[in-house]
Amino acid sequence: MSIIRRPMNRRSLLKAGAASGLVLATPTIISRSAWAETNFRNDPTNSKTVTFGFNVPQTGAYADEGADELRAYQLAVKHLNGEGDGGMLSTMKPLSLNGNGVLGKKVDYVTGDTQTKSDAARASAKRMIEKDGVVMWSGGSSSGVAIAQQSLAQEMGVVFMCGLTHSNDTTGKDKRRYGFRHFFNAYMSGAALGPVLDKEMGKDRRAYHLTADYTWGWTQEESIANTTEGLGWETVNKVRTPLGAGDFSQYIAPVLNSGADVLILNHYGKDMINSLTQAVQFGLRDKLVNGKNFEIIVPLYSRLMAQGAGENIKGIYGTTNWNWSLQDEGSKAFVKSFGQEYGFPPSQAAHTCYVQTLLYADACERAGTFNPAEVIKALEDHQFDGMGNGPTLYRGSDHQCFKDVLVVKGNENATSQFDLLEVVEVTPASQVTYDPEIFGGELGPYKV
């Protein structure tokens, strides 16, 4: 065995340098996207399935709404995996999904219980991210909870597709790059209601607000008061009521002789059911004040809540994100799928959750990756149609969807137990669109 030491000359140095450069450059040239893809949390590249998380209220006051959300998510997963009749996949435009899961991976899901409490929702979401490896999670029926989960999404680098949240803050001062809202907001409710209130109740009105004392209530009160004052109405009083007060009679009694001829109930869920029921019992709807019929307005309606309020909702105006009675192709396809699966029509909460799941999945297909930074870019400023609300824009600057808003009235001649809301006006998206700067906030970075 002999060791021959050869002196390094210029030629061999150049050869060695070129070879080393080639070796070092190879990974980035050949597999640049693979390299990038492994650089995010819960990358499902090496798995046959991809997991979504559905974090809904399974206990507490919004459990029924949560159950409806879960039904919609399960239906969405079914449709994404090519089972069932496909639902809105047959009407969604543009569509990159083809019914074989997402990016060729079968969609699996895990569920969690938000309990409609911010801390419980965050804990449940964290478990989904860290233990179950979800690439996206969605759900919820409260703005406080949605805002808390959006912050977590930004911290963890996992996309959160909001469920039902109506506060301006969600896509306003508390907006996050990793949070997206399909549902409409309080500002849009006000903008949509304005012209209808003007037409139905005139310009000379005196309004009294009863408002749930938390983020959603405050923003709704502000938005509706801005709208009504813009019409020329006078705001007599704004009274904050504790969340879950149960008996609102002590807050309703002062309305009787306040000089107000309109009561605006900025309440949702059980609070809305109770305050509306009791306001009607106090005879407010039969009252004549300032020579006008006393009116009650519930700016945010939900069919599930309307069921709880029973016949008290008859003739009362409000807004809703979507209603199962809509006759566009997307709505009809979704109602048919949902109705055949469960035997009753979906709620607006179910609709927004179903749409959010499809939108996220479609964005992954368009991005060609589950990398959240790329998926976010695919969702931002994305325009779509066929999902039940007409042409819609997912605005990039605040992650808020802009679409038509429904002004509804409690149905006076209901034909079934589900036929509770009558659509009186479809307010076009252009009328409810606003400058994102008015609510401030910072989205934050793509990479976390």
Binding site: T59, G60, A61, Y62, A63, D64, N237, V239, P242, G244, G246, D247, S249, Q250, Y251, A253, P254, L256, N257, K270, I273, N274, T277, Q278, Q281, F282, G283, D286, K287, L304, M305, Q307, G308, A309, G310, E311, N312, W324, S325, K332, V335, K336, S337, F338, G339, Q340, G343, P345
Partner: protein, 342 residues
């Protein structure tokens, strides 16, 4: 002035509910010495007796119309309550009066619930510390509300007052106010009189019957009554069942005011305990007076004029009064010496 009258009325009917729940609570505490945290759940069970009765008499005949379909493509179903098919107008009237009629359904149900609860669980905790009683009854309350949620869902279920007393009435014109200034829901007035009647009935039962005399004697000195050869335990079982009925009836009649849901008992539980503490542990007149007093104070604290001076007072007034009472009169307004004292 009309605002004050309205808040007094409001406080009285709110106080009626507090007094009814607190009455049962203090009756159990005074006789059995048990701190019953499941008492709110009994109020809720009563409310669901009204819901169940309404569903029972409202059972519907389903007729499928194959010529029409729903929005999701299944044949349309037309539903008519059997009771209307069988009894015609009488059936419609029964459905209209389902809440008051459900009292007849709730009394035996609540008696049975009270009896089973006392014999099956509570009696095993008579001699255990109060902390253990609280834990077991609180656990029972959670179990009961979860059972109700499983069967009836989490959403409130509206119950209507009979048409005759559904609207509001102008009380002002009877007491010298301008028409339309003191308008109050008729059912709430019915509720106020109902609660006064039940309270009166319970007091009469305890005051003027031999059974009541023995119970009162047992409340004062359980051991001596036992030494006289009276089976006080058997009577106390019935007292528990009566307390369950009182809470249940309070719940039944409250359903048109507050659409019942599985959690409504918990909402009233804490308030009722405060009422019992303010009234004096084990004092029946104390519980009733404190119920009305706190109801009225809560109503006044919600007046805009008061809230302008003291923001948020409406949410803490009851607890503030409880703190003051406990500082000034540690036994409560009408508390007896020796109750919960060592």
């Amino acid at each position: 002035m009309d605002a004050i009258v309205l808040q007094i009325l409001n406080g009285l009917d709110k106080g009626g509910a507090y007094a009814l729940i607190a009455l049962g609570l203090t009756l159990i505490f005074g006789t059995l010495g048990v701190v019953n945290f499941a008492h709110g759940a009994l109020f809720m069970l009563g409310a669901f007796c009204a819901v169940a009765f309404n569903k029972l008499i409202g059972l519907e005949q389903v007729v499928v119309d194959p010529t029409k379909t729903t929005a999701w493509g299944t044949p349309l179903e037309t539903r008519v309550p059997y009771i209307e098919v069988w009894l015609g107008d009488t059936g419609t009237t029964m459905l209209n009066y389902s809440v008051p009629l459900s009292i007849a359904f709730a009394i035996p149900v609540m008696l049975l619930v009270g009896y089973v609860m006392e014999r099956g669980l509570i009696r095993h905790f008579y001699k255990r510390p109060h902390a253990e009683q609280i834990l077991v009854t609180f656990g029972l309350a959670i179990v009961l509300q979860e059972i109700i949620k499983t069967y009836f869902g989490a959403n409130p279920i509206p119950q209507s007052a009979p048409d005759m007393v559904r609207g509001a009435m102008d009380l002002g014109i009877w007491i010298g106010f301008d028409p339309g200034t003191v308008v109050y829901p008729q059912w709430r007035i019915v509720y106020l009189f109902f609660s006064l009647s039940v309270i009166g009935g319970v007091f009469a039962f305890l005051q003027f019957t031999t059974f009541g005399m023995v119970v009162r004697a047992g409340m004062a000195d359980r051991e001596t009554v036992g030494l006289l050869g009276i089976n006080i335990e058997r009577r106390f079982t019935l007292v528990f069942a009566v307390a369950a009925v009182v809470a249940g009836l309070a719940g039944v009649m409250y359903t048109p005011i507050l659409p019942p849901d599985y959690h409504m008992g918990m909402d009233f539980l804490v308030l009722s305990f405060v009422v019992v503490v303010v009234g004096g542990m084990g004092s029946l007149p104390g519980a009733v007076s404190a119920g009305f007093l706190l109801g009225i104070l809560q109503s006044f604290a919600s007046m805009n004029e008061v809230k302008t001076i003291l923001p948020g007072i409406d949410q803490i007034i009851i607890y503030l009064v409880a703190v003051i009472i406990l500082l000034v009169r540690p036994r409560g307004l009408m508390g007896r010496k020796g109750v919960m004292e060592t």
